[in-house]
């Protein structure tokens, strides 16, 4: 296939469908062809909220990590961070699609990602923090992926078959994310005085938001009773063991921090976010909102 100029190539008609000429055009429901029946006895509203929580965690961190594209210190790490973001985006797409069908609203993944206001996002605040320098990104990714891997491992036994299947796939992906963050934590912590200082500062910025990861929401409590969700408080031991192992190898100490406060007990899972989140959403949602009819 040859063209006189690039515009002709772009404008070429594809009788077999636009999906041919570039990945990413003609998105379809990520759960297309999957049996999405909700088992009897599972509260649909709670299940939808829970899918949003875990989906929003992944979506928002994917958006933050993508900021590193064109800015990372080495091509290999740029590719790594972009791949990690892509895995998380894939997990988010399935979870958001599940939420939109289960709650009966019929909203698809795009409607949920681009047309919800800030206070309807259910992600923990940790994932929305500014990416900071590479030391902070490594600290945040280590904390998040260690926690999420522990959660997903337990979620593979969920009474909701779609959640269980999404988790079983995601477990393998997040194992690589944790491995990446852990190796970089060791390299920075056990590197130069400066690199160790940056890792330490990263932990100091991020760890105050870790407490929220282990605080069960009422929805998680109820669904945990029904065998659908995981009680996040039960993840703390594994989380501490992994972080201690990494810190020992990195010759790093976990800074003593005071957990950031909540708003009368409410935090990210209730739609209470940090001042950074609005800017992230504005960037993520601006294109879809400026042209709501657009497809991609």
């Amino acid at each position: 296939m040859s063209f006189d100029n690039a515009y002709e190539a772009i404008a070429e008609a594809h009788p077999e469908g636009d999906a041919r000429w570039a990945f990413g055009t003609g998105f379809e429901d990520p759960l297309s062809g999957v049996d999405t029946t909700v088992p009897d006895g599972i509260d649909r509203a709670d299940l939808a909220s829970y899918c949003l929580m875990l989906g929003d965690d992944a979506l928002v961190l994917a958006q933050r990590l993508t900021e590193w594209v064109t800015r990372a210190h080495e091509l290999e790490d740029e590719v790594a961070l972009a791949n990690i973001a892509l895995d998380l985006l894939g997990q988010a797409r399935m979870l958001l699609a599940r939420a939109g069908t289960v709650d009966g609203s019929g909203r698809d993944e795009d409607a949920l990602a681009h047309f919800r206001p800030e206070d309807e996002f259910r992600n923990v605040r940790l994932v929305e923090l500014p990416r900071g320098d590479f030391g902070r990104t490594v600290a945040a990714l280590l904390v998040f992926s260690t926690w999420r891997l522990a959660l997903l491992n337990r979620l593979t036994g969920s009474a909701d078959p779609v959640l269980a299947a999404v988790a079983a796939k995601a477990v393998k992906e997040v194992a690589y994310h944790r491995d990446y963050a852990a190796r970089w934590a060791v390299r920075l912590g056990d590197g130069t005085e400066y690199s160790a200082e940056r890792l330490h500062a990263g932990f100091a910025d991020v760890l105050p938001f870790a407490e929220e990861l282990f605080t069960p929401h009422a929805v998680e409590h109820r669904l945990e009773r029904d065998g659908v969700a995981v009680d996040p408080a039960a993840l703390r031991r594994e989380f501490d063991e992994v972080l201690d192992q990494v810190c020992a190898r990195a010759a790093a100490t976990r800074p003593e921090v005071t957990p950031v406060g909540t708003l009368a007990g409410r935090a990210g899972r209730d739609g209470i976010h940090t001042e950074h989140f609005g800017y992230l959403l504005a960037e993520m949602q601006s294109l879809a909102r400026s042209d709501p009819e657009a497809t991609w």
């Binding site: 990945f23 791949n83 892509l86 894939g90 269980a164 299947a165 477990v171 393998k172 491995d179 990446y180």
Partner: protein, 179 residues
């Protein structure tokens, strides 16, 4: 290809098995283990079951439309494509032929025998568990065969590959990750 109301499943399977992966065109979806099943749908059509490799794999839509098109062209008008998420796809499902093809094209196939499955329930093979040591894979350069290789990144141009370099011939090459 419907004769007397019955679908010729083996013919449909033969067609589906020729469809290649959009990112790794040397592999068919059957080699990759993405194509799980081809069977009659019960109402005169064909039911094809596939499974995604990675949650975010952007090629899945392409795979679906390729399967649909190839089967339509072969005369199967009623084709439904089902996505099966469980059990999750594993690199250990790549066929022997697929492994050979990867190596011939300079991509080191996954070493699913040495990959640790610790802490990953229900999977044979899978990601290497957190050891903080250099990976224990034995990776030889697909170009010169030297075992003096080093990993440059666990991530590469597609979700499924890692990046290595050969310390003897100095060429970079890709490694298909265990998952």
């Amino acid at each position: 290809m419907v004769t007397g109301g019955e679908v010729d499943t083996s013919a449909a399977r033969a067609v589906a098995e020729t469809v290649t992966d959009p990112e790794l065109p040397m592999l068919t979806l059957a080699d990759l283990g993405v194509l799980r099943d081809v069977r009659p749908s019960g109402d005169g059509g064909v039911l094809v079951t596939i499974t995604p490799t990675y949650s975010g794999c952007p090629a899945l839509t392409e795979m679906r439309s390729d399967l649909q098109r190839k089967l339509n062209e072969a005369g199967f008008d009623d084709v439904r494509i089902r996505t099966e998420l469980s059990p999750p796809w594993s690199s250990s499902w790549i066929s022997e032929r697929g492994r050979r093809k990867l190596a011939e094209h300079g991509i080191h196939p996954p070493d699913d025998s040495s990959a640790g499955a610790a802490g990953i329930p229900g999977t044979a093979g899978g990601p290497v568990p957190l050891t903080l040591e250099p990976p224990r894979r034995r990776v030889s350069c697909p170009r010169c065969g030297s075992t003096r290789t080093e990993r440059t990144s666990e991530f590469s141009a597609t979700a499924c590959k890692a990046l290595y370099r050969c310390l003897r011939c100095l060429e970079p090459f890709e490694y298909f990750k265990e998952i």
